[in-house]
Symmetry: C3
């Protein structure tokens, strides 16, 4: 299961049935759960003094695709799945079933809930706080410095079920409240109320999310999206969503 070309530290702790692809490097401070696959050309547990000796922890049944780089000092729950060329810095803590798309970059010191999905080329600045069931689409950036460069860090907060559409910027310290939708190519400088749509640069209130109609001929509301979109979520979660009075 370990390709003969891989460079795996004898100090790394690999669970049962872990596979490591060709040309992948596993450094010392690494703990990988059972049944996890690390594809080719990765660098896992990149050493940094900023992690103060803490290891990288990857949960069970995860899949890390090729050319990805994970620093030591971050912790991921079970069933992490990544695209290619993902970068994750130190001291981030994420829940289970996180998906990180190709080229996405998590800068470290972040808190991420369960069942979060980052699409391709997403940039999560340091000290971001992200809830559960959040969707972040390509080329979105979560910032943190209100007057760059400086040492002031005002991380962004993204609550449960929020969707941030393509190429939007969340400015330092904003809070995107539960179930909100940020339209594509927006620049969000103020907090966004729950279950509302904002868009534009600077982003302004457009409507309540329930006013957005599904373009599938049903004329149903497109939000909350968990009423109609279930792909990839486990049955017990989908069943609980169906019982909600939303």
């Amino acid at each position: 299961m370990i390709h003969p070309s891989a460079v795996v530290s004898p100090k790394a702790k690999l669970g049962k049935n872990v596979s490591v692809g060709p040309f992948t490097i596993i450094h010392d401070a690494v703990e990988i759960g059972d049944d996890t696959s690390i594809d080719s050309h990765c660098e896992i547990g990149y050493p940094t003094p900023l992690a103060a000796g803490r290891p990288l922890v990857i949960g069970e049944e995860s899949l890390i695709r090729s050319h990805s780089v994970f620093y030591q000092g971050s912790v991921f729950g079970e069933r992490l799945v990544t695209g290619h060329r993902v970068t994750v810095r130190e001291n981030t803590k994420a829940g289970k079933n996180l998906q990180i798309g190709t080229i996405s970059d998590i800068q470290g010191h972040c808190e991420i809930g369960d069942y979060v999905r980052f699409h391709s080329n997403v940039h999560i600045g340091q000290h971001s706080k992200i809830g559960n069931y959040v969707w972040i689409f390509p080329y979105v950036v979560l910032t943190n410095d209100p007057h760059p460069p400086s040492s002031v860090m005002m991380g962004v907060t993204v609550e449960d079920y929020v969707a941030i559409a393509t190429m939007s910027v969340l400015l330092p310290g904003v809070v995107i409240k539960e179930g909100a939708l940020v339209g594509a190519h927006s620049s969000v400088s103020r907090d966004v109320e729950a279950n509302t749509v904002v868009a534009g640069s600077p982003a302004k209130f457009i409507c309540e999310t329930r006013k957005v109609k599904l373009k599938d001929g049903s004329n149903a509301s497109a939000y909350p999206w968990r009423r109609h979109f279930h792909r990839g979520y486990p049955t017990e979660i989908v069943e609980s969503w169906k019982k909600e009075a939303i």
Copy 2:
């Protein structure tokens, strides 16, 4: 021609005079045309059940630069040239002489014509349809979901000779008609008429493309660009352009 460190499946079909660089992986379901070079650190023919067993097909005289990842199930005509770290998912069909810039990501299920040029860091969403002689510049995203996340897919259509400038987003289902120009940092929410310039967020009509003057001292019109820009196109095509009454 095959570097000894490369990992090449005996099931892969490599044409004559194909070279494979160091630390590159060629999976089973791959067919590569004659005289093609695959540089170092690539992963070619990444297996996916979504390709239903179809191979990756790369045409003759192609060049794939380092750290690129191609999934099985897509087909490319002759003389494909890529930058570094390109990603191409399954079930895309592209014509000849396609150029894909560094870090660009083609998400799969796309149709792409001949002589198309994607610059660096372009993101082509699933179900995009792109004509011939199209130019797409850095950090442009073609989207497809009108109310993310959902299962509704409304791919973008980009017709022949269109140019999409840097960091623009094409919203789901829009049609950019022949010869149009989308200005930089625009968000395109409506169809764009042929041979017109649109710009802004949301993008609005600016002028006809022929009103844009070349900044080379000639005072000639900058569009149609094929009147003055010929770099890299074969002689017979340039000659045919010169005969057009445009």
Copy 3:
């Protein structure tokens, strides 16, 4: 110090105490200064006829992180530090202590001063001229073609101490004068005066930079940033800044 899996040309000139990580390729036309580290999976000195035989020169005490690609024909001063997956094309000349963030792409033919910091995923178009102590934040693009595609090249000029915030585009030929700040998600189509803030799409004058207050409770001005932000700069430079009457 040279990992046995690395592929290092005997023609490359490596200084004393240079280390080369696993699966890295060093081509012929390369000169690397003393005490420099090249991490894993890199391709250094990628050959191109556009460099007219000139080598890639990397100064002393530099660190190039994994999966980076440098073409032959560019020159970097001492203490270059890169993130992962950086791309640098030919014929760029940069001063000392340059930092280039993960996935950033320098397209070649650029001039870059001392102590410049590119954050992640920055795209520096050909013929850009960048001064000293400049900051460029994630997803910023410096363009050069006023009517793409064409052969007209109008590179951008960024003067000393300028900061360009996230996801902004600098349009061809603009000059961003000393100490200016470009707000996030802006599109800059005109020259920006020294020590002013511009923002928006198209970017407009907002205020003088000295009007921006530090959000650290001090009520001090956030600009010039060198009054309060010193992380990573050498002591002699910080001392000289402290003596300035700014």
